[in-house]
Symmetry: C2
C-alpha cells in the first residue's frame, strides 16, 4: 500500500465522458489498496473561456479579480470528478486550494506555494475517502485567492506529494511520457524510462511542454518521484527522478528545439565597461526576455553583440535596440527571424568530453551552419537557420544513438 | 451619506454589457457620496448550466460537491463586476462568501446564514473601495462551501445589510417593484409604494416571485428596509418595510394567484380520531407538500376531506391517496387539476370586517363558483375553476379599488 498523488490535465478532464474515465482509473488505483489524492486541472478550454470573458470586460483586469475568476475552472472539474467517483460507489471529497489550505505568496497569476496543510486530507484518507484537490490555485495569507500560472496544476500536484511525502506523483497527460525528441519530427524517437530532474528542467525550459518548469524544480527540491504518463492508455511513462549512475552512462538523453526566437545583432559596439548594461536595460524595462547572448572578443575596441528574443517581442525589441545602438554610437543593427534553436541535453556530458564536438561535426556534415552557440553543464544549444531545424534534429538523434533506445513511440 | 447595500439578480448581470450597466449604476450611487456593498447573482443561465453538468455526471450528486460547483457562478460574476468598476477608475474588491466569511449552517443547497463578519468590508469602505460580494453562497463551520437555495442572493443581500446596519437594501431586478397584481393579467395594476413585511411574505409564498421568502423573513427579523426596483430604469420601486398606520387604512394591497396546484377530495371518510394523520402521513413521507386542507363538519360519522398539492406531485399524490383511502375505509376519491388559487392580501383586514364577504360577493356576481376557502389574518384564498382565474383577478382588482392607486405599471 502506497500513498499516490495523481494529477490529471485539462485534456484528460475535457468532458463528462473523459472525467468518467479518469474516475475509473482513480478507482482502479484505489482498489489496488493505495491511498489516493487526485489533483485536477480545469476542463480543457474552460480557463481560456474565463480569460476571454475577463479580457472582454477589461483590457488589463486586476490580477486579484482575475485569479478569483479563473480559479472557478478547477472548482467545477474537481467537484465533477468527486461526483463521478461517488456515482461509482466510492467515498470522495473535493477541496479547493483555500480549503486545505494551500498557502501561497500574493503574486497573483504566478503565485508560489509556501505551505500546504494536509490535516484534512490525512483524516479523509484514514476514512477511506478518495481526496480530489483543485490544481492551479491557492490562497494567500490575507485570504485572497491566487493562481499559480499556466500549467500550475503540475506544481500543485508535486507540492501536495511533497507535503504528504507521497510515494509517487503521477502526472497524467495526453502524451505517453518524455521522448528523446519530438516524435512528429523523428518517428524513431524513443520514450525515456527515466530522466533526471536537471535534464527535465533543461528540456522544459527549452520548449518541451509536458511539465511546468516550476513543478520540476519543486520535485527536485523535495525529492518527489514524478511519473509522467498518458491518461488514455496503461503504458508505463517516464520517471523524473534523482540522477543515478545509469543516467550518466548516457551521453545525451534528449534533443529539443525552439522556433519561437529571433536573433538581433548589433555590430561594432564600442568596447567600454557598462555598454552591455546600456544595451539590455531598455529591453528589460520593456519586459522583453533576452535569451542567448554572444559577445565576441574585441577587435580595435569594437565588439559584435548578438542575442535572441521571443518572436512575439521581436518588432518591439528591434525598435528599442536600433534607438539604443544609435545612442551608444554602435554600427548597424541586423536581425533574423528565420532561426531555430536546437539543443542536446544529458547529464552524461558532465563526465564525457567530445559531446559538443560531435554535435558540431554532425551539423557540419549536413552543411548546416551554426550561427550561435551556448552551453551549460548538461546542455549545448546551437542557433541554426530555421529551414534546417528538422534535418538537424534527425541527424543529431541518430548521431547520439537515441533511435537505438528500446522503448519506441507509438 | 448612507451605507447602501445593492443586490443585482441574474438578469441584470446577464452579459458583459449588462454588467457594465450595473457598474454605471453602482458608480452613480457611489458618486452621490454613499458607502456601497454590492451583492450579485450569477449571470442568468449560468447556474442552470452548472446544474445540468452536475446532473449529467450523476443523477443524485452529493450536495456538498453540488454546492461547491454551483457557487462558481457568483464567483465569476462578482469578479467581472469588480473589473468593470476598476476599468471605470473606481476602487473595487470582490469577496466570495467564504472570504468575509458568511458563515452558514451545513444544510447544503438550502443553508441558513448564521453569522457575517464585516471587518474586511468595513475596512475597504473606509478606504473608498466599492465592495462586491457573491450572493447565494457561504461557508459552514467545517470549511465546506454552502449555497442558500434558489433566490438565495436576496437573502445574502438582506443579511449583509442587517449585519452592517445598512440604511437600505436595494434589490434590483427585472421588474419595477411589487404590483397590486400581475400586470400581464390586469393592465391597470399599480405599483405599490410600500408594503409590509407580512404582506410581502404572503405575496411571496403565494406565488409572486420577486423576492425569496427567506430574505423577507430576514428583513422582518432585523428590520431591514428593502427597496425592490428595476435595474433597467431609474423609477422608484417598492419599499418593503415595517407596517404603519397608512398601510392599515388600505383593505387589500395585492391580489395573487397560483395555477400550480391540483385538488384531491376523499369522500365519506370515517370520522375517527387520528384519521387525518393516517391520510396525510404517507404524503408527507413521499415529500409531497399539502397546501390547503378543508374538512367539513361531519354527517353520520362521515367527513369529506379536500386538499391541494403541487401539480408536479399530483399523479404520485393521487395514487398514494387512493391506496390510503381504501385502507381506512373511505368512499371514493375525486380530483381536479383545473383549478386556480386566487388570494387577496392586506394588513388592513385585521382591523376591517367584511373583506371576505366582499370577495365572495364579487366572485359570485360573475358566476364564479368557490370550491375551497382558506384564510389567515391578512389573507383570504379561494380555489376556483382554472378558466375563471383571470376574470376573478380582474374583478377583485377593481372591487377593492386597486386600479385607483396612483402609480401605474408601465
Amino acid at each position: 500500500m502506497a500513498l499516490v498523488v495523481q494529477k490529471y490535465g485539462g485534456t484528460s478532464m475535457g468532458s463528462i465522458e473523459r472525467i468518467r474515465n479518469v474516475a475509473k482509473r482513480v478507482a482502479k488505483t484505489y482498489d489496488e489498496g493505495n491511498d489516493l489524492v487526485v489533483v485536477v486541472s480545469a476542463m480543457s478550454g474552460e480557463t481560456n473561456k474565463l480569460v476571454a470573458l475577463a479580457n472582454e470586460m477589461c483590457e488589463f483586469p486586476s490580477e486579484r479579480e482575475y485569479d478569483v475568476m479563473v480559479a472557478t475552472g478547477e472548482q467545477v472539474s474537481m467537484s465533477l470528478l468527486a461526483m463521478a467517483l461517488q456515482s461509482m460507489g466510492y467515498k470522495a471529497k473535493s477541496y479547493c486550494g483555500f480549503q486545505l489550505p494551500i498557502i501561497t505568496d500574493s503574486a497573483f497569476s504566478k503565485a508560489r506555494i509556501e505551505e500546504i496543510d494536509d490535516k484534512r486530507v490525512r483524516e479523509d484518507l484514514k476514512n477511506g475517502v478518495i481526496v480530489v484537490v483543485a490544481g492551479f490555485q491557492g490562497i494567500d495569507r490575507q485570504g485572497n485567492l491566487t493562481t499559480l500560472g499556466r500549467g500550475g496544476s503540475d506544481t500543485s500536484a508535486v507540492a501536495v506529494a511533497a507535503a504528504m511525502k507521497a510515494d509517487v506523483c503521477e502526472i497524467y497527460t495526453d502524451v505517453d511520457g518524455i521522448y528523446t525528441t519530438d516524435p512528429r519530427i523523428v518517428p524513431e524517437a524513443s520514450k525515456l524510462e527515466k530522466i533526471s530532474y536537471d535534464e527535465m528542467l533543461e528540456m522544459a525550459s527549452l520548449g518541451s511542454k509536458v511539465l511546468q518548469i516550476r513543478s520540476v524544480e519543486f520535485a527536485k527540491k523535495y525529492d518527489v518521484v514524478v511519473h509522467v504518463r498518458s491518461s488514455f492508455n496503461d503504458n508505463p511513462g517516464t520517471l523524473v527522478t534523482k540522477e543515478d549512475a545509469e543516467m550518466e552512462a548516457v551521453l545525451v538523453s534528449g534533443i529539443t528545439y525552439n522556433k519561437d526566437e529571433a536573433k538581433i545583432s548589433v555590430l561594432r559596439v564600442p568596447d567600454r565597461p557598462g555598454i552591455a548594461a546600456k544595451l539590455f536595460s531598455p529591453l528589460s524595462a520593456a519586459n522583453i526576455t533576452v535569451d542567448m547572448i554572444i559577445q565576441n572578443v574585441s577587435h580595435d575596441g569594437l565588439n559584435d553583440m548578438t542575442f535572441t528574443v521571443p518572436k512575439s517581442d521581436f518588432k518591439k525589441a528591434l525598435k528599442i535596440v536600433q534607438e539604443t545602438a544609435a545612442e551608444i554610437g554602435a554600427g548597424s543593427v541586423s536581425s533574423d527571424e528565420n532561426i531555430a534553436k536546437v539543443s542536446i541535453i544529458g547529464v552524461g556530458m558532465r563526465s564525457h568530453s567530445g559531446v559538443a564536438c560531435k554535435m558540431f561535426e554532425t551539423l557540419s556534415s549536413e552543411g548546416i551552419n551554426i550561427l550561435m552557440i551556448s552551453t551549460s553543464e548538461i546542455k549545448i544549444s546551437c542557433i541554426i537557420e530555421l529551414k534546417y531545424s528538422e534535418l538537424a534534429i534527425r541527424v543529431l538523434h541518430e548521431a547520439f544513438g537515441l533511435d537505438k533506445l528500446s522503448v519506441k513511440a507509438e
